[in-house]
């Protein structure tokens, strides 16, 4: 079965809307409802389950620290044991980490299903972002592995020489090396780009043209309907009658 293809801008707006909306949700069921949405979306886009699980595993320490710190800093409620944790604090920590989890899941979906070139084309084509900004993203993506490799090799070399990394001198020389290496590569890149006409015209053309398809419309409708249902549920539980960043029951 072919993987579902959606305009990257649609996905980007979905990510932005959900990320904003999620900040105002205090109900666990609504959060779980959004997690279900992202699972459905990942299934639709035939995400690689193994990679997805690996990613979830990697996200755990981040989520746990989110949970831990947010739990500790809410002091009200009944303390649990000798710790300063309170039942309300745990609820709050859980809420915040679930919010982060939803955003992480949506970001994973966006990153793994979007061709960066298509996203840049979408930004240029629909949002009229200048080519120069768009291409700086590509170059950053291209140069990051080179910088990483240089840094890794330098650290291996220092280790072999017995130079302690705690020594500020080693950090200074590493910084100098990275700047020097990247500068030399940037010159080569500038020559290569310029001789291929970079910057000759204010706007370049793109071989690929992005279009809004019927699938995009269906996808938007599906997401809107899903969000509206969620909002309706929130209305039913009385969410819109008052607003608090804390879940019901936490009043401090």
């Amino acid at each position: 079965m072919r993987r579902l293809e959606i305009n990257p801008l649609v996905k980007f707006f979905l990510l932005s809307i959900v990320s904003i909306l999620i900040l105002f949700i205090i109900d666990f069921y609504v959060l779980l409802y959004f997690i279900l949405l992202i699972i459905i979306i990942n299934l639709l886009f035939k995400a690689n389950v193994k990679n997805f699980l690996k990613f979830l595993l990697l996200a755990q320490p981040f989520l746990f620290s989110f949970f831990f710190f947010n739990s500790v800093f809410v002091k009200c409620g009944t303390p649990i044991g000798f710790l300063t944790f309170t039942s309300e604090g745990i609820k709050y920590g859980l809420l915040i980490s679930l919010r982060a989890f939803v955003i992480i899941l949506f970001s994973y979906f966006f990153v793994t299903t979007t061709n960066p070139k298509d996203f840049v084309i979408a930004l240029v084509q629909y949002l009229k972002i200048p080519d120069k900004f768009a291409y700086s993203m590509f170059i950053a993506l291209r140069f990051f592995p080179i910088a990483k490799l240089t840094q890794e090799e330098a650290l291996q070399a220092y280790k072999q020489r017995g130079i302690r990394l705690a020594n500020p001198k080693s950090w200074f020389s590493l910084f100098y090396l990275l700047v020097f290496t990247m500068f030399r590569k940037a010159i080569s890149l500038a020559i290569s780009m310029e001789l291929r006409g970079w910057g000759v015209y204010k706007r370049k053309v793109y071989m690929r043209k992005l279009k809004f398809t019927f699938t995009d419309v269906l996808f938007i409708l599906f997401i809107c309907l899903y969000i509206i249902l969620g909002l309706y549920y929130m209305y039913l539980i009385g969410y819109f009658t008052g607003f608090s960043l804390f879940p019901p029951g936490i009043s401090c």
Binding site: I146, I163, S192, V205, M207
Partner: protein, 518 residues
């Protein structure tokens, strides 16, 4: 034939520099002529080709005198748009030239910038990818390509623009023999283009070159004229200082006449085993298996040359031997202390930490707890005049020597050099290899990785061939000579024709003679 390029009394230097990098350069290229630029490292070859396209002049980072005319018009009177339709360039490092994340986007990049109609872009992308044999990788990520394929991709991206003059600045210096051959075959097909090449594989390109420009170390012009082998006779007296690559046969015949040094060394302690590797496998975090079931042993006082294509696992193996990487499975038995193994990285800059060469040596002595006379040490390795210079701004050859000197301060028993001759001119290549041979003569074991099969014949005691993460061959050089043509034809045909003939005639005495005089 109309003049394409005219360079008259041209001088060039970067702002802030007191010395001219290029001095009084004069030459002209007509339509249909292909130019080869020769010269040692630091002679200004790359600067010259950049000046031809007006790059340093345009950004006002340089000072120039004289004139460069392209089709009768000063290069500075051209717009970037016009120049990008005349010149295309493929530089040494493809990693630093690729802009895009996908193959087809890289080829389309120039056409998109110059606002070609989309239909035309698609047509040219198809034909360029087909010309370099990358059509089947059109939708691949550029990062997924091999080093050789990346260089072919750069060629495709300039072919798409249909430039009149193509500049190749040492495009094959980091390619393995197979990729290099394939790249040269592509260049040879470009019959309707004017080529400017900075390249030292003279045999590979001699049939497509008409003109040659030879630069001196100080950036002045030594020779410009028709390309033929007789011109090398004119410069043969001090070709070694010039650092230029002579045709192999000529170099050997001259060495036979002049050489009094015998560096050929047959080891006497070959049974003293230092390292034994059994069933080593190495898997990267990404899951990629770089080495599979490696079994090797290294003895005292030998020079081992590890050959293999790009990405075959040579560097990973060396890093495992040096203890930088830990094998995923298998065993290594060290009969020496691990600290007695030193690894010199392909990019020597990653090893430097001092602000000056002198400070670098001082820091190393402190780390190694050794006391040496710095001046004497630097004089021995011809680095004394660079004592107060930053190691990062030394030439590639000097950096490689400095990295070996740093390793030697630790008094290692095994030195591993990853591509020690990469991107070096003839002078520096010979200098480094003589140094390595000298260390072997003193009883040290040296392991080097290289793509240059010729080096293994000239200097090695044992040859190891790695392919796809597996050891395909390990034997003494004498045995390797017997089987190279039948078992490793890709390596055999990458040798200079002279050596091919010698091997085919089983005239191994000649190889021994070559080893003695180099």
């Amino acid at each position: 034939m109309s003049k394409l390029i005219e360079v008259s009394n041209f001088f060039f230097k970067y702002y802030g520099s007191n010395e001219w990098i290029l001095k009084d350069i004069n030459f002209e290229i007509r339509k249909g002529e292909n130019l080869l630029i020769l010269g040692p490292n630091g002679s200004g070859k790359s600067s010259l080709v950049l000046c031809l396209v007006g790059f340093p002049q345009r950004y006002k980072i340089s000072k120039t005198k004289g004139e460069i005319l392209i089709k009768g018009k000063n290069v500075m009177d051209y717009s970037i748009s016009e120049l990008s339709k005349i010149f295309g360039i493929v530089q040494q490092d493809p990693e630093a030239q690729i802009v895009n994340l996908y193959v087809e986007d890289e080829v389309a990049f120039g056409l998109e910038n110059l606002r070609y109609p989309v239909d035309e872009i698609l047509k040219r992308v198809n034909s360029s990818l087909e010309a370099v044999g990358l059509s089947n990788k059109r939708y691949f990520e550029t990062n997924a390509l091999s080093y050789g394929e990346k260089q072919k991709l750069m060629l495709a991206s300039i072919l798409a623009l249909d430039n009149e003059i193509l500049i190749f600045d040492e495009p094959t210096s980091n390619l393995d023999p197979v990729s290099r051959k394939s790249f040269f075959n592509l260049i040879k097909k470009l019959k309707d283009k004017n080529l400017i090449l900075i390249e030292h594989n003279l045999e590979e390109i001699s049939d497509i070159i008409n003109k040659v420009l030879i630069l001196n170390k100080d950036g002045s012009m030594r020779y410009f004229g028709e390309f033929n082998y007789e011109i090398f006779e004119k410069i043969k007296e001090n070709y070694e200082e010039l650092g230029i690559w002579l045709p192999y046969e000529l170099e050997i015949s001259m060495k036979k006449e002049s050489s009094k040094v015998n560096l050929f060394y047959r080891p006497t302690f070959t049974n003293n085993n230092l390292i034994k590797i059994s069933n080593i496998t190495y898997k990267y975090a990404s899951g990629y298996v770089a080495l599979k079931n490696i079994n090797l042993s290294f003895n005292k006082g030998l020079l081992y040359v590890i050959l293999g294509s790009n990405g075959s696992g040579k560097t990973t193996l060396c890093k495992i031997i040096a203890g930088i990487f830990k094998p995923s499975s298998g065993e290594i038995i060290y009969n020496i202390h691990k600290n007695k193994i030193k690894y010199c990285f392909q990019n020597p800059s990653v090893q430097f930490i001092g602000k000056t060469v002198e400070e670098e040596i001082k820091l190393t002595m402190k780390e190694a707890n050794k006391k040496l006379n710095i001046d004497e040490l630097l004089k021995t390795y011809e680095l004394y005049e660079y004592k107060n210079k930053n190691p990062h701004i030394l030439s590639e050859g000097q950096k490689k020597i400095l990295s070996i000197v740093i390793s030697l301060i630790y008094e290692p028993e095994i030195i591993i050099c990853d591509e020690p001759t990469f991107a070096l001119d003839k002078y520096n290549e010979r200098k480094i290899m003589k140094l390595i041979r000298k260390l072997v003569g003193e009883g040290k074991t040296v392991i080097i990785t290289t793509h240059d099969v010729k080096l293994s014949l000239e200097y090695s005691d044992e040859v190891i061939i790695i392919n796809g993460g597996k050891v395909e061959y390990q034997s003494k050089i004498e045995d390797f000579l017997n089987i190279i043509e039948s078992k490793f034809p890709e390596y055999f045909y990458s040798l200079p024709k002279y050596l091919q003939k010698v091997i085919q005639n089983k005239n191994f005495e000649e190889i021994y003679k070559i080893r003695m005089i180099l």
